[in-house]
Amino acid sequence: MKPTENVLEIGDLVKDFPGVRAVNNVSFDIKRNTIHCLVGENGAGKSTLIKILTGAYARTSGQILLNGEEYNPHSTRDAKQKGISTLFQELNVVDQLTVEENLTLGMEDTTLGFLRHTDKINRMVSVMNNIESSIKPKQLVSSLSVAKKQIVEIAKAVAAESNIIIMDEPTAAISESEIARLFTIIKSLRDNNVTVIYISHRLDEIFELGDYVTVMRDGKHIETKPVSEIKDRSELIKMMIGKTVFEQYTPREQDCPDTILEVKNLSNHRLRNISFDIHAGEIAGFYGLVGAGKTELARAIYGVDEYEGEILFKGEKLKPSPDKAIAAGIALVPEERRSQGLFTILTIRGNVPVMNMRKISRNGFINDAKERNVTLEYVDKLKIATSSIEKEAGKLSGGNQQKVVLSKCLFADADLLMLDEPTRGIDVGAKSEIYSLIRKLSREGKTIIIFSSELPEVMNICDSIYLLYDGNLRATLRNNCDCDSEKILHIVTGGE
């Protein structure tokens, strides 16, 4: 078979979710034996596209040609057999097995079920050792660093003779020196006839590594061109943000002089020495890309994760536990809506009042009428679209689920409301409703902290913007004075 010039050709690809078109008529080609970068903001449709390629999602319409042939994988396993391996953000190695066992997992040579030590193992080990010689084949994977586990996964993909390897944010959890090492590896993969599809939010990496870059925005394909034809970061950034006009941010009329939250020298496994003050009544935004430490910061303040350092709320030291945080007047809308925020098998009525049961009960007994009225009030207030408050929360659309989680936190009557990715995966209409709600709450005197990886979101509603990169607080900006989106993207993608 004569190898085609393009290893992958994507044509008119569409993927619909209820209420959202996540991938909208995307067409582009990926050239054989190149490093092809995929960039775009959160919600641009990258991950959905990748999930279609790996067989996790079925496309709505369109076609994909792999080596010139129709490609329609029905599972990740199937995709792998057809030559496309993926390094997901979560590592897929078995900690309890040795490196060698992981490399051969699922591909063993056996006689009557007995493992045979064949050349294949040696070949795989030597593939791995060409990549990284310090990993010993008999070592337990649990003893390896994250970066080295990643290398084991890469070696496994290479040894399985994949001709396309997709890497989703492979540098999110590893250190600078390890990143340099990884890049050398990726380049050598290309030289050994492997096509790499590389997804990253760190734009410097694109310039250092990429041959081609595809930019996506709002589910649409914007541009595919050789990296060499792109002048600099700012050109790339412009393509990513497009001509999106930010909804005009209106500067706050009066200042907020009182400090409500003080964070001093906060450090933990992801955060490094973070200090800042939040003033009562303001809307603060923490912006950073995936893996920058936003969620970890929110969880530390809320007392879910352990930390070193000190957090003062209204002048008093916070005890690290969510129930104490709620009692003190803090509420969190967590990042993962379905697994951390919502009780999907319970009704809307079962969800809304859970963070403040005292308000709908007397002496421990629930007042049904109050419960219903409160739920109805929030259904009205947040315009939750549902036929009944007795509907299971898990059956609502993403935006309405998020509104239920928001109602839950609003009902907690907190003075400080923390929202982690409040608009992830929800449609534009619901988004703007949530923004106006946030503004309204702020006018009512609530303090709000938003943790987001969507720049327009932060620029459009936050009074002050905090930029995180790799667990560090890199800059603090007042909105509308010295903010421009290019400068911000420059900082959060690792620029000085």
Partner: protein, 345 residues
Amino acid sequence: MTTAKTETLRMQLDRSANVRSIIKQFYIFVVLALIVLAFSVMKLDQGGMFDRGQFLSPDSIINLLRSAVPILTLSGAFTLLMISGHIDLSVGSAMSLSAVVYAWMVLNGFSFLPSFIVTLVLGCGLGFLNGYLVTKLRITPVIATLVTLSLFKGLALLIVPDGLSAIKGSAGQVMPDWINFYARREVFLGLPWAFWVAVLVIVVLSIVQRRTILGKYAAAIGGNRLAAELSGINAVKMVWLLYIIVGFFAALAGLARASYMSLGDPLSGDGMELDCIIAVLLGGTAFSGGEGSIAKTVVGALIIICVTIGLMTVIPAYWQTVAKGSVLVTAVVLNHLLVQDKVKA
């Protein structure tokens, strides 16, 4: 400054992790040695299990090992299943049912080989059912096997005729003598076939664990099921197979019990699931699966046998349940301290 501090902290953690892993490696052997030592210096009852009241006399050891046959036969396969992150609470009942079926066949004139084979095939069938419920119908392993515990036990009771407590010889029907050859007649070093078969089973299963894809896949499924499935492993098939294997060895253990007692007691396997869990936990297999060692489970099994039988001679029999319960709780605590620590990190 902070980095330096974190660094020292990490080194301390590493060191304590090292110490812990050494303790984890060897503690169980020390525990067994201590228990044996304790019983050896104790004054034990004359007669009965222990020859001249000595724990370490050849006859005493032979007696101990003979009573250990069922758990030695079964606990290896049980370990493999736990490594894959699954549990089978029906093993005791499967044992009883096999014992009853075997005794019934022997009593009704079948010769050794057909009875033997039918019993083992039955065991595989019981395991097949458990595997089907867990993997195909996706009923939680605990519930599925608790209910089959009741099912198998009920069947065993139904086979035993009304008015009798077990399948055994009576005036009308004589139980052939040879039924106890397998588990009683001395063939080598004063120990019967059943014991040597159990030793063989342990050796074979240890090899299976280390040298075959079954052992490896069990660990992979228990360690990270998603990764295993992404690597192309058919987890459903593997887990199902493991249940069948456990059923097979439960039958072999039941058969040994029936042969030892020359009768088929429908309650003879009661509590075996707990003995197996204790042995496995003492042996350091994680609750959640992924790692474990059959060799260490065997040591754990010997500890239970020593404790229950050794104690029986110093204190009255009615202390046995408490003793076993305490061993289980101790096993849980040790397991928590030594194995589960990684979960937190």
